[in-house]
Subunit: 145 residues, 2 copies
DNA sequence: GTTTCTGCAAAAGCTTTGCAGTATC
DNA sequence: GATACTGCAAAGCTTTTGCAGAAAC
């Protein structure tokens, strides 16, 4: 799972600098989690991420993956979206929103520009500081409920 | 927690008929869960619902509340929305969407008409059958991250 | 009377935490 | 060298499940 794409390399570097700038340390576990999220299409659960990493770095523990994900979510580097007990994580460095399948949990990304205006209006209406939209339904494979 | 409001009474009756029409049975537990959801503003977790019910009906078990909620969600009577391991439930019989606070999990409702057009367009774009929108951010009390 | 539903108890599954040792800066 | 981070093991929480008895129809 080496980072070959120039774009990914750059995104990773940017995040590394940001993490360090906050006084945090850049570790093997953090790098592995982020490389996994950059590599994989869509969003993954903590356990899926751990599985991918464990193939390369068997010593990395589940708890470490969780701790890294929580830390990164806290810093705004990754998104965390819930799906009935199976939280999914994805990169947050490029503005987008989500479509979640209620059946299989699969996540599709929606470019931000499609919805930003609406979110601004609704945020005003409900008095929330809204920054993310999740649409829920069924993906193409899962069909009707 | 008696159902006094005429509106609630009617909503409950409608749901009862719908449940029976599907060959399911109308039970004390089901009635209690739905009355709780009708009474409470916003959306509650399964445990919160169980707590409210237990004050009146101590014999109702947590597992029963979960089973009832799953069954009702399956029938489309209630909404189920995830928030990092703490799923919340709310009435689905009146069309609306949700604003979830990323800090405390509080849920505000957004009338459907504000977003329906957008959802239709996005559903087409991503190939999903979308029926619900969740906006995530911070509520008034929780302020900035 | 039949079938769904419930209570109880136990298990499962994801996530969190305490602590001693390790890696990062 | 100081301190953030990790691995391990154990605990915590919500949710799920098996089964015998109760309730709904």
């Amino acid at each position: 799972v080496d980072v070959t794409k120039v774009d990914d390399r750059g995104r990773l570097d940017t995040i590394r600098d940001r993490v360090r700038a906050r006084g945090r340390r850049w570790t093997v576990a953090k790098g592995a989690v982020l490389e996994t999220l950059l590599d994989q299409p869509g969003h993954l659960s903590a356990l899926q991420i751990h599985e991918v990493i464990a193939a390369r770095l068997p010593q990395i523990d589940r708890s470490t993956v969780h701790r890294v994900l929580l830390a990164l979510a806290d810093e705004g580097v990754v998104h965390m979206l819930g799906h009935h007990g199976q939280t999914r994580y994805g990169m947050a460095d490029q503005p987008h929103h989500h479509a979640v399948c209620a059946a299989c949990g699969q996540v599709a990304e929606i470019p931000a520009h499609l919805v930003d205006l609406l979110v601004t209006q609704i945020a005003l209406a409900v008095g929330y500081d809204l920054d993310r939209v999740t649409l829920t339904g069924r993906c193409g494979q899962c069909g009707q409920p």
